[in-house]
Each structure stands twice: as structure tokens, then as C-alpha cells.
Amino acid sequence: MKYSGYAATYTLLTMVLAGAATNAAAGEVNLYTSNSEDAVALVLDAVAEQAPDIKINVIGGGSGSLLRRIEAEQSAPAADLFWSSGFSTLAGFSHLFTAYHSSEVDALLPALQADNAPWTGTNTHVTVIMVNSDVLDGDPPQTWEALMDERWAGQVTMADPANSSSSYAQLYGIYQLYGEEGVRNLADIVELQGSTSGVYKAVAQGEYPLGMTMEYAAQRYIHGGQSDISKIYPADGTFLSPEGMAFIQNGPNPEEAKQVYDLLLSHDVQEQLFDLTFRRPSRADLDDAIANSGLPLMKDLNIIEVDEAEAGEQRDYLLELWADARG
């Protein structure tokens, strides 16, 4: 009895020591993510099933907060992966990332492969007009051009392009379609929200009948069963606002992180994530899932191509024009 007691203690002790020694080495990935907990839980389940020897440590938070933390930890990186944020936001932190060419990248939509950047598209937002029929007077506008009619003055809301990257993408899209005059017309009719979430909340609560927002945000209310909410894909074109994940430079567990990276881009995980969040997947082979959800297929949308680099260069000029038009 006494002997087995010692043996057990000894075995336990070796296990603890071994555990401590290999703690940082095998089987762990530190994932920094701005995604919702249910999306993260889904990924954890997928990893547990397909790569059972990898344990994921999740640090969740707002993307700004996470990226600043990665920047603060630059001398001794704790994170392996960052998942996910808008391309234009990631661009401001590209010195923290290393490019990783996943084997899954070839299956992605060309616009989301981000070949020249140290990140990979995971999903993309599509700009829509969110409509609350409960407070809408008449028929909703079917194009951006119709939306910018003065008849809708004060009834349309969007996020401040100076504060939000997806809102700037909307402004840039309008500029591409209708030039400076379009920007002025838009400035005349919209009222601004301080943040992206302010837009869909305001429309859902009936503060405004119309809002320029992201497809998934409107879809959450439609799927949730709020019958007075609908969304319109303007016939004169809509804009994408892609999001991506990135591989952290000098992260502690590069090999395992690569496995998780591949997994996040895999067919099954992207399909499940789409069913959960309605964020359009970056993969090109998920049309069935999209059709099942009731959202239109990518090929049926009239998408205005945006040159991200040019959009970035024009930013100061356009925001100045915008501020001027807003008076």
C-alpha cells in the first residue's frame, strides 16, 4: 500500500514536471479573436475533432484592442493567430504579421486571396440597404441613385466614414459610381452614426427606416424573425468589405498555428461559420450553403470592383470632400 502511494505520487510528479516542461512546445495554439463566442466555440469543436492533439487558448476582444495588444507584445509574441478584421484595418498592423500560403488559398474567391498581403480573406461583408418597413413611408429605393433622392433626406443613416473602415468602403463605392456629385448627394441625405453597430441598431429599433449596413447584420434580424426588417441589394451595384486573419510574426507555435489556419479556411468550418453568422465565406465552393440560407449567390450580385490600394490613397482627399459636403 505504502509503495503504491509513493508510486502514484511519483508518477503524478513526473507528469506535472513533464507537463510544465513541454507546456509551450507541443499541441498549443494561442488564438486572438474578435469573433463572437459561438463562432469560436464552433472552431474549437472542429479542432477537437480534426486535430485532437492541438489545444487552443482563446483570447477574445475587440479587434482594435487585440491588435494593439499584439503590437505591445511584439518583443515576445504570445499570439499565434489573429482572426479577424477588415483588410484596411489589418493594413495598419501589417508589420506584425508573416505571410503564410495555406494550401486552401486556391479554393478562395480571387478577391479574398490577398496574394500580396500577409493575411488571408476569411469572409466578406456586402453592403446592403437595410429597411424597416414599420417606419417606412412608401416603397423603398432599389438603387443607390434612388436612395440619394432628397425625398429620403433625414431618413437614411450610415456610420461615419472617418471612424469606420466598412463605412469608408461604402463612401468610396458611391464615389466610384457617381463621382463627387454622388458624394455630395449622399452627404445631403444621410445622418451619421458614430459606429457601424449604431446603424443596424437604429434601423432595427425604428429610429430610421433606411440604413447602409452590412448584409450579415440585417440578416441577423431577418433570421431572428423581426418581420418588418428586409434588405435590398442596390441594382446599380454593391460593395464588398473583406475581412481576413493573419499569422503572427515569431509566434510561439508556428506549426500548430498553420494547421488551425488551414482548418479555418476549410470547406466544413467555413460552411458552419456561415450558417451561424451569415458572414459570406471567402471560399468559392459554398454556393449550396449560401443558396440554402436564402442569401443571393455572389455571381448574382452586381459587385463594384474596388482597388484597395487606390481606395487607401484617396482616403484623405475623399474624407475632406465629405467633410466639406457635410458642411
Binding site: 486572438y32 463572437s36 463566442e37 469560436v40 466555440a41 483570447i59 477574445g60 476582444g61 475587440g62 479587434s63 482594435g64 484592442s65 487585440l66 494593439r68 495588444r69 505591445a72 484595418t89 495598419g92 414599420d134 417606419v135 472617418a162 471612424n163 469606420s164 473602415s165 469608408y168 445622418e191 451619421l192 452614426q193 458614430g194 459606429s195 453597430s197 449604431g198 443596424y200 441598431k201 437604429a202 432595427a204 429599433q205 425604428g206 429610429e207 441577423r220 434580424y221 433570421h223 431572428g224 424573425g225 423581426q226 458642411g327
Partner: protein
Amino acid sequence: MNRFFPWGFLSVLALIFLAIFVAYPILGVLFRSFIGDNGTFSLDGFETFLTRGKYLEALMNTVILGLVVTLSCSILGVFLAFVVARYDIPFGNIVLLLPLSVLIIPELISAQSWVMVFGNNGLVTNLLKALGLPFPRFYGWFGLIYVMTLTYYVHVFLAALAALRGFDHSLEEAGQSLGTAPLTTYIRVVFPTILPAVLASGLIVFTLVIGNFAISIALAQRVPLLSVMTYRSFISELGGNPTMQSTLATVSILLVSCVLFLQKRYLSKRNYQMVAGRTTPRIKLRGWKAILISSGAGLIIVLSLMPALVVLIGSFTVSRGPVMYWGQFTLDHYIRIWDFNLAVIGNSLTFASMATALGVCFATLVSYLLVKKRSVFSPMLDYLLLLPLTISGTVLGIALAQGFNSGPIVLTGGLLMVIAMTVRRLPFGVRNASSNLHNISNSIEEASVSLGVPPVRTFFNVVLPLMAPGIAAAAILTWVTTVAELSASVVIYQAGQETLPIQIFRLISSDLMARASAFGVINMIIILVPVFFGIKVMKVRLFSS
């Protein structure tokens, strides 16, 4: 006996602490507002502030909002205090619990609850619409003033109630026996004596209003306000402009300093010492007066408690994404927290208990030094302790984050969170801890020292037990406010350090009210448990001062 050691030495230590964590970051903000893009002296920040339309408009709006809400809070608070102090109304005892209920509801959640009642899709709005009655637009000024009044009037209520209870009834009788009508007596005798208390609490309301961004973001995205702009300038996902952040923060510091100065000047001319006299007897009302006054007070109580009720029900309500299915109940939101978010609760408990412990130790020591061991350092301590009052949580957060992310002292994350929470409540903690210190006779302490007990042991064995009730009250109030702290921590926290209010803020931002409510209920429980323990078991008298 060395005259410097230990009290002078401790005063210097306290002074150093305040200099590092209060004066240095705040001066840094003021300093940086005069530094331009290229690192040299520049007035660009202020030029932008004065010439770009929306900044001045935001300043104007902020001042107007601050004044209007302070006024409405004063009316509501004094009315309720008067009713409770003077009349024997049915809900008298419930009214005394009010302060708790309003202090523990996260203000964000209360704003969101009111949107559910009065918003364009709200319960009352739809009811009135069905009856064909128009209801004013809740978003914007109306909602702001309404929600802020109901959130902050409690501060005035408490101060006015304490003053009214301390009022010597014989003064009023004297007035009336000299032939002055009862109403005139109220206005000429009673109100002037409670005015200093009302003004002092009004100042607190004013600073809370102009520093608040949570309610403003929820209700009035279109009304430009200084607090919201300051917050956004710091949190902008596209990277803010440091000069503008500091300029906005500086403007808000100047604004509160001006009001603080005016209030001090006014109060310095009016100082009433009330000799403890007879408390005014409570009158039992009858007839229509009773109905009118009780229902007025009852309405305020019901309205104050309403958000807590909405939160409680909301946390058990089925939701699909952002859409709530009222009337269908579930435990899902709590199960999710259990599965995923225990760390958030842990963060809240850790930060708040560390901040409370640090704050209470500091407040106890400093109040003792200031009341009993005044030295050449005391005036300096007094002034430094006033500083946290002049800045809103967001500005303090920005000051600490900017001050300690580079330079001689580098601090981030958890420690900075604790310091922010501690510093914010320090002036109140010191006031609470010193509340009964004035009544402790010096001779008790001197007796102990003259019998050969060293001063430090005397402090622990003799003075500390006598200070205990004040310290306990300070601890509980610090706990209540640090657990609910949002505006400073939300600009400091890093990933993995989310507290309950931060999590609630993020969930409400994505319109997930049901889940936010479940966090709100947990937040309320965490706040309430120690309070009940304090009141029931340790018999702490809260709100006595």
C-alpha cells in the same frame, strides 16, 4: 521621537503616489494638447477645436445637457427627499432602498431598457400609437435628459435627505411663530440651509453627466457631445489623432474645473452650522393631498426600478440573434456564460477587489493623516485629492494609458485597470473614511502614546477600531462603484481583461440585449452581495453622510 517618522514619511509616500498616478498623467494630457504632429509646440488642436463646427457645438451641447440634467435631478431629488423626510407615506422604507437599485443597474442597460419602453418600437410607444396618441421622439435630447435624470437624481436625493434630517425644526417653528407663512418659511429658512448640500451633489451630477458616454452612445448618436467625441477619438479603429485626444480631454478638464471653482466660491460665502436639534415630525397626510404626493413619489420609485425589472426578465427571455421573444423563457444566456465567460466574472472580481483594497487602505491612511496629523504636506495632499473630481472616467483612462505606455514608467493592462478604478473613487473614499474621524478625541490616542505604546501600534489598536464604521462604508461604496466602472476601464483594458461592464457594453453595441441582460444580472448580484452582507451582518450605516 523622530518628528518625521512615521507620519511625515507616510504623508510623503501618499504624496508620491498621488503625484505619479494623478498629477503626472493629467499634466501629461494638458501638456500633449499643446504638442502638434511634429512634436513641437503648437495650438493646432485648439485651433481645430474652435474652428471646426462640430467641436464647439459638442461643447455647447455638453454644457446645456449638464445644466438641464443637474436642474432636473435637483428638482426630482429634493422633492423626493422632502416627501420622505416630512410625510409619512406608504412607501417610506422602500424609498430608502432606492439609491441601491439605481446605483447597481449598469447605466448602459438602463438606457437600453428605456429604448424598449419608449423607442420607436417600444412598448409604451406602440400602446400610445394604437390609441392614436403621438409620443415625442425618444432618441436625442428627450431620451438623454430623461434617462440621465432617472439615473443620477439619487445623488441629490441622498444629500438633500441627509440635510433635511439634520435640519433643526425649532428654526422653522421660530419662523412661523414670528408670523411668516409656512411656504415662505420653507423658501426663506429651510431651502437656504439645504442648498449647500444640494449644490455639492449637483456638482457630482454635473460631472457625471458631462463625463458619461455610455448613455449618450445608446440614445443620441446624432447629438454631438464632448464625452462621446473624446471616447471615439481614442478608440477609433482607424487610429486616432493624439493631439486631438488630448485637446478634447483638456477642454473637459477645464470645463469641470470652472464649475468646481464657481461652486466653491459660492459655498464659501454660505456656511451653516446646524446645532443638533429636534428632527421635524413626519406628518400623516390625508385626502387628495395624500394621493397626489404618494403617487408622485411612487411614480419616481417605479420608474427607477423599471430598468432592473426589464434586465431581469430580459436575461431569461428567448432570443434569436438580436431579436427578443418576450414571454418565452430560457436559461440559455446563463448557461453560455457558465460555458464561455467565467473569466469575465473573474476579471471583474479580481480588479474590483484589488482596487477596493488598495483604495480603502489609501483612503484610511490619508484621511487619518489629513485630519489628525496635519503637516506641511497636508495642503498639497488636499489639492491632489481634488484632481480626480475634475476628470471624467474616459479622460482619466486616456491620461493613464497615454502617460504610462511609454516614458519613465511603463504600465499596461491589469495593473493600470486597478489603478484607474482606485484613483477614480479616491476622493469619495477619503471623505467616507474621515467621516467619523473628527469625532474621535485626540486625548484617547495621546493617552495610549503616553503609556508607552508606539504611534503606529496606537493607530492600529486604538484609532483604527474607532474608524471602522467609516472604513466599512468607504469599502462598500468603493466596491459598488468599481464593479460598475466602465468609462475608464473601457479605454485601458486589453484583450483578455474584459470586465462585466465592458462585456455588457460590447454586447449592447452588437444589439444582443438578452445576453447583455444576463451579464447585467450577474453584475448586480456581485455588487449587492457585499452590500447586504455589510448592512445586515456588519451593520454598516451607508448613506449616512
